[in-house]
Symmetry: C2
Subunit: 400 residues, 2 copies
């Protein structure tokens, strides 16, 4: 749905409007008489309006900031994802300029966003919000949207909004009246709402994460935050039973020292530990496939198939590191390396589905102390690949 | 010098005080009668005071933010470097807590910072500034510091301050009187100065880069900014004359498309282009050593020696990528790879001096189209290594 832009007049609908802004979140009601009524008896029906018509002038980049890519996905998709996760937000209305309408439709389709409606942005942020609210008002013909009791206004460039903050602003929109003290520290939007909208307003404490991507440095920060969050949970898939071969378990112990949340499961050869499917469902974005007994890609291929089926990599790149050991007793170095170089072809293939595959060959000297050093080096490489999450090095066979 | 902390009283010295803060920089004079006198006839003598006694509570990390590492160097060292570069700042006084005094001395020594004096921080930022000013006042016994006309107060956690902004605040400190309008948007420190210090104040426009590292996300942003800045200038060292071997020049053309400031020079075998020593002196932090004719480390070793002699890598990690080609006509793959694996030992050695060395082997197929694809892949790997500047992958022999 794309209604024509309208001149802002009295705000359409008689629902309440809540805004989640910077360090403080502003919640306001369009109907002051209702502000102190119904103190949170039941969950109100909620929708969200995202003004996303900005041009990104302060950013110093040609792309409007809401469309700037972070790990190859546009910023606005992260914000939509954060709102979508909140099941009690029934509809999300995004206001974009006519020239970005098609790009926005493409983003919604590519990342399978749900419950999104698009409206045309106005020339100012406030007109965009107005257009969004108008789309939610019940007198719109042919609208699939249901009229909500509370509308959250949320900037498209605040990707890290959490459910608890949204709940706070919605509750505040239902419960609170006006306070001059609170308004003193309010946002520009809140001031305008008070001046022209005869609304009640209340500041709600937000979190530092609610900050707005304004400058290029904020894009950098957002990327690092996303990288940090996606590198927290690592799953090690072992192809050996405990005590069968100590090198795998040595590596496991070292990785547990280096990384926060390490979980170990076993491969097809040795089914034990938690089900890999379950771990994928819990959105683990990092996999280390330890091949102690084999030097083929069977286990890795099994994992890659499961990952591809799961669609896990739609939102974030998934890192898969296939680890092998160079045991001088067995095959010759050159033969093993040449064999493992096939990983380049696998990597090229899964790269298309946002899976970043690398190989890691770890030296396996007989000397226990040297082995420990070798394994620590391997763990450093694994940690680096997981934390950088960079597609430039996929298909490489790294050596520790 | 570490004077005992003193109770703040009237500010010591009769110099003027200027502060470079967030988006606006505040300049104030301790002597209102002088504020409109001497309108910038000659360059005043200038010193800087850095309050660095903060505990970093908002950061969510145990280390105070000014000591948090960025590319393994503490944040405060970047700020000191920014001030040191400004030759007309005669003395830099840093106020640190007693418990961080030894660490701070270590930082000054390690990064060879000049013109720095240390004083003990007070319990508040203002007491720390007071202690710094007191050290600069001429009545201090045994002081090596010369009494300045203007003192710049600069937060230790604003690493990206530029000379032009500092010059603006110093000029303003010399020239301007008080303005209520300006003060309305001033910083907390400026308000206090007006209230208790009977000083004049003037806001000076700063730049967005002057922002303060407050949250963990700001550290991420600072790291990315530093990585971006150090990856701008790349020097390619070619071991072949023009038209002697076209593969080297193909790679050069592709890299020029991918990177901003690419400069080409020649190695010992073929002395041409600008002098490598000059390029190092101009603080180029990225070197691609293209070995078309050879498969040894001679050129790379020559570059590494020059880099080590230059001390360039004291402030930022220097990336060196040694590129080789796998020409099917010449030596066998395995032999070449095994030979080039020696790069691990070189890399371990120069890593100690903050030089990040990697090898890159580029396939050289006869088919022109395949060769172009291979070279583009090589350029992607080079770009990735330069932009990530991560020590976790040093010594690897990557393959394109």
């Amino acid at each position: 749905m794309e209604p024509k832009p309208a001149a802002p007049g009295p705000c359409p609908g008689d629902f309440r409007v809540a805004e989640a802004a910077a360090a403080a979140a502003a919640a306001s009601s369009l109907n002051p008489a209702e502000a102190r009524a119904e103190p949170g008896r039941r969950a109100p029906s909620v929708a969200a309006v995202l003004p996303a018509g900005g041009s990104g002038e302060r950013m110093g980049v040609p792309t409007p900031k809401q469309f700037c890519p972070i790990l190859e996905r546009p910023l606005i998709s992260y914000t939509l994802q954060a709102l979508e996760r909140v099941c009690w937000i029934k509809d999300i209305v995004v206001a974009v300029t006519g020239e970005n309408m098609e790009a926005m439709k493409g983003i919604i389709q590519k990342y399978k966003h749900q419950r999104i409606s698009l409206v045309e942005a106005g020339v100012t942020r406030h007109r965009s919000i107005f257009n969004g609210l108008r789309a939610l008002a019940e007198d719109q013909p042919n609208s699939k949207l249901s009229k909500p009791e509370v509308v959250i206004i949320h900037d498209a460039v605040r990707p890290f909004v959490e459910e608890d903050v949204l709940l706070k602003v919605v509750t505040a929109a239902k419960e609170h009246g006006c306070s001059d003290y609170d308004l003193e520290f309010g946002t520009e939007c809140l001031q305008l709402a008070l001046k022209y909208g005869h609304v009640n307003a209340k500041l709600v404490e937000g979190s530092p994460d609610l900050w707005k991507v304004t400058y290029k440095r904020d894009l950098y920060a957002a990327e690092s935050i996303i990288k940090e969050r996606t590198s927290q949970h690592i799953c090690i898939i072992m192809d050996t039973k405990e005590d069968e071969n100590h090198v795998g378990h040595h590596l496991e112990e070292i990785l547990k020292n280096e990384l926060n949340h390490v979980e170990v499961t076993s491969g097809a050869l040795c089914p034990a530990g938690r089900d890999l499917k379950q771990i994928i469902l819990e959105q683990c974005y990092n996999y280390v496939c330890v091949n102690v007994m084999s030097s083929d890609f069977e286990e890795t291929q099994r994992l890659l198939n499961m990952l591809e089926e799961s669609n896990l990599s739609i939102f974030y790149p998934v890192v898969v590191i296939s680890v092998y050991f160079l045991d001088y007793k067995s095959v010759h170095f050159d033969q093993k390396v040449e064999n493992l170089m096939q990983i380049r072809e696998y990597a090229k293939e899964v790269r298309k589905r946002n899976i970043l595959l690398c190989g890691l060959l770890i030296y396996y000297p007989q000397d226990e102390q040297k082995l420990q050093a070798s394994l620590r080096e391997g763990a450093t490489i694994i940690t680096t690949l997981i934390k950088e999450r960079n597609s430039g090095l996929v298909g490489q066979l790294l050596i520790a």
